[in-house]
Symmetry: C2
Subunit: 489 residues, 2 copies
């Protein structure tokens, strides 16, 4: 058997293009949530690699027979767990070319187009969501890294010589404290752990009835830390928290951060995308005063993972935090500061050419096309919300500012202390059908169902089917003796 | 103009497959190093995004006309700068499918195949380079992240409650010190900066005449730090340093680290790949005693960027350093510890399905096929080394254990104090031809040329042409009045 040559590549490549097109025309042919058991995929694969080349047709057969059953279909229009996403057709073609070119955009010189197209599309996206020119953008892989980058830049902005002297064993260094809401994403906490801030110095600020950070609690926490000798240096406000998509009051938080000289990072990984819809632009109110901001086009702007858009008003601080220039990476144009070398603005030296897929996507949809799709997702969420609100024995448990609904069954026929168990069993039963995939969260100790629309193929019929399944499973389970009040029949 | 539909996707996708196949059949049609000026690409692109969809044919025309001239062709067989890389045909098809499926493998449940295929291929790769089963693998995006992960795991292994209490303002915390050779990659230092260790606590251990870390200097540095109250906790040995590809004496370093209870990380990002060649297996001698190890298949194992293979013997420590489990990411199978959830083992929550491209590549080449290609790269480097050694007025400045040659022009007709300038001008002149791309480094203050072979398409004729150009430019420049001794003609 010979290795793949360019003729084989053409034949198999075209077969895969057809396969992907047909797959995306009707992803519902597969269960949305993979139905395999732990270890089932592994057990079908050889424990050792092949010594000799295998025919690629065999590999593709194994892909279909072994790998595909273990795929959970994020492309399925009934994928409504976590945050629904869409790779989009032009985005996929962008990834194909990125792999074909296989450039590493660490330096301007190692592909000027990778650097300059990144500058261009990050300026486009900035305009699309209405941020001012004071923000400079850098493409990161994930929001987790963007969170870490934000905390690192804030730490560097303290001018405490942490880059040079480190943090441990220094008697001149105060305790550093950071702030985020109790509803914010776990990556903020992870950033604080990695950066050596420590979980106990990360204050999870209380939220109001609508799950938004309470600014007076933030101010009080900062004051308390200052009184006890801590140095507050970083606060994160979220536009679209992970569980309820609540929107922290950024303007009030920006007031406090400005007064207290605390770096303000705004996490709009999900919600920030909505600002491309003109009537949703308000969600980023106050963000122009943030020190850094992130939104993830790979979450809700039709870009294949990974693509996280990080912006900051202090790009020099970012560079001070991260730039290291060994001789082997020096270039004349870099020394002359005639170009941007993106390796200077983050952890990773190696950088995929991620701008390409976003450029393809924006030009193929147009900003209006993107906006229309996001608007439709928000409309669908409100339709679903309406159904839940109109049905007795169900409740919507949080406001719906974006395309995500948090709700639960609360049937009078089941004692309240059994509602958590009921909702968990409803979720498992609905997901086991393979027809729809929802996820869950907990709010005030209550087990809550989470339906998030972000797939470009999701239509009203898909949310209708989800609702039908939810009601049916709730009905079936409410009658379960272990859950019901045992009322007379 | 309508958005792209699946018929368009098929047509354009196939066009791109043909384009990539033909591009890779003859990448030499383009200058290897892009010849554009700073700002030239940007100036041709609109400053604002389009409101309406554009025809994809227009987008692809712009790709050809505007983007392509700004590409530095890592695929060109004459790309010999930094470390040459190859995406490979099956690897590209893997990336295409990864983008088509667009799964996020953060949890087992969110695509069991992404998790289990990752476990399988990481076990394959472990066997391919001869590491024992005590090592568990996790795919990271880049070696920069793998370096950071290694330092973080080592810090966690100290059991100093840094995850919980942080590092700043703690009177109970000693100064922490880490060790790496003065020839190691900048990402080790960056990891130390990000983790809050601080540059001044990162000892750059002296190297011997062959650019290998001196174990006695490491032992002395550790002892000196202990005497002054520091706590040595992390050492990095490199198998294939970035400049000269020198191999640190891992067994001797492992002895010291074992005795001193210092976490030993081995950076084999480039050199580790060579261990797939049976007669090169020795380069990983001693690595079985390391606490963590990295090699990058996206560097020298025909896998498109990004794919960094991180291994550790202490996977529980890794999990302790990074795992955070918010309610919305809980699953029954995770709680039962029946599966691996890879989000627990690193910074990033979002994870591309990277195992697929590696699986395609290994099966398509076979281990023997991979080994043959790497063996050939090493042979070519020795051929080139032989030419340099055989030519007066040139010298090889470091041993050549892998596929990289460091050398310089040292013509007697030019005063020695002008050799740096001469070599820099030779490099610039050679790169300006667009026929070949080499890079440079500095060793003992000397400007040195760096030729690294890692492209699957590189043949003897390509290195012969590089050598011809180098000799011609040196000849031309040596005659330059500003460089020559002004000897009588």
């Amino acid at each position: 058997m010979a290795e793949m040559n360019s003729g084989d590549f053409k034949a198999y490549g075209k077969q895969l293009i057809d396969w992907i097109a047909e797959y995306l025309d009707y992803p519902e042919r597969y269960p949305v949530l993979s139905q395999v058991k732990p270890g089932e995929i592994k057990s079908q694969l050889p424990a050792a690699p092949p010594a000799a080349p295998e025919d690629f047709a065999t590999v593709l057969r194994d892909f279909e027979d072994i790998v595909m059953p273990g795929i959970t279909h994020w492309n399925n229009p009934a994928f409504m767990a976590y945050f629904g996403i869409t790779g989009s057709l032009p985005g996929i073609l962008g990834e194909l070319l990125t792999a074909g070119l296989n450039v590493n955009g660490m330096l301007w010189r190692t592909s000027p187009s990778a650097t300059e197209l990144e500058e261009v599309v990050m300026a486009w996206l900035r305009q699309m969501v209405g941020l001012p020119e004071t923000f400079t953008g850098v493409i990161m892989d994930t929001a987790s890294i963007s969170s870490l980058i934000a905390v690192a830049a804030a730490r560097e902005a303290l001018n405490l010589r942490i880059r040079e002297e480190g943090m441990a064993g220094r008697s001149d260094l105060p305790r550093l404290t950071m702030y985020t809401s109790e509803q914010s994403h776990s990556s903020i906490e992870k950033g604080g752990i990695v950066l050596g801030i420590g979980q106990h110095n990360i204050r999870k600020i209380e939220v109001d009835a609508e799950f938004r950070m309470k600014p007076d609690c933030l101010a009080a926490a900062i004051e308390a830390d200052r009184r006890s000798g801590g140095v507050p240096f970083f606060a994160c406000a979220t536009v679209g928290t992970t569980s309820t998509t609540s929107i922290d009051p950024v303007p009030a938080i920006a007031d406090i951060c400005g007064r207290e000289r605390v770096w303000l990072h705004v996490d709009g990984a999900y919600g920030g995308n909505a600002a491309v819809v003109p009537e949703m632009r308000w969600v980023l109110q106050g963000v122009e005063r943030a020190d850094s901001f992130v939104l993830n086009p790979h979450k809700w702007m039709f870009t294949p993972i990974d693509f996280s858009a990080f912006y900051t008003r202090h790009v020099d601080t970012l560079k001070r935090a991260f730039s290291i220039l060994p001789e082997y990476l020096r270039t004349a144009e870099g020394d002359a500061q005639a170009v941007t070398n993106f390796m200077d603005y983050g952890v990773q030296l190696g950088r995929r050419f991620r701008a390409l897929k976003f450029w393809f996507m924006v030009r193929s949809f147009g900003v209006d096309g993107i906006s229309e799709r996001i608007r439709e997702h928000i409309r669908l969420a409100h339709v679903f919300e309406g159904w839940v609100r109109a049905t007795s024995g169900w409740e919507v448990v949080a406001p719906v500012p974006f395309s995500t609904v948090n709700f639960r069954a609360c049937p009078p026929g089941v004692p309240e202390e059994k509602w958590n168990e009921l909702n968990e069993r409803v979720l498992n039963a609905v997901n086991a059908t393979g027809e729809v995939f929802l996820s869950h969260t907990k709010l005030h100790g209550n087990y809550v169902l989470h339906l998030a629309i972000g797939n470009i193929r999701t239509e009203e019929k898909h949310i209708a089917r989800a609702w039908e399944l939810l009601k049916a499973e709730r009905g079936r389970l409410s009658a379960d003796a272990s859950l019901s009040r045992n009322l007379p029949a």
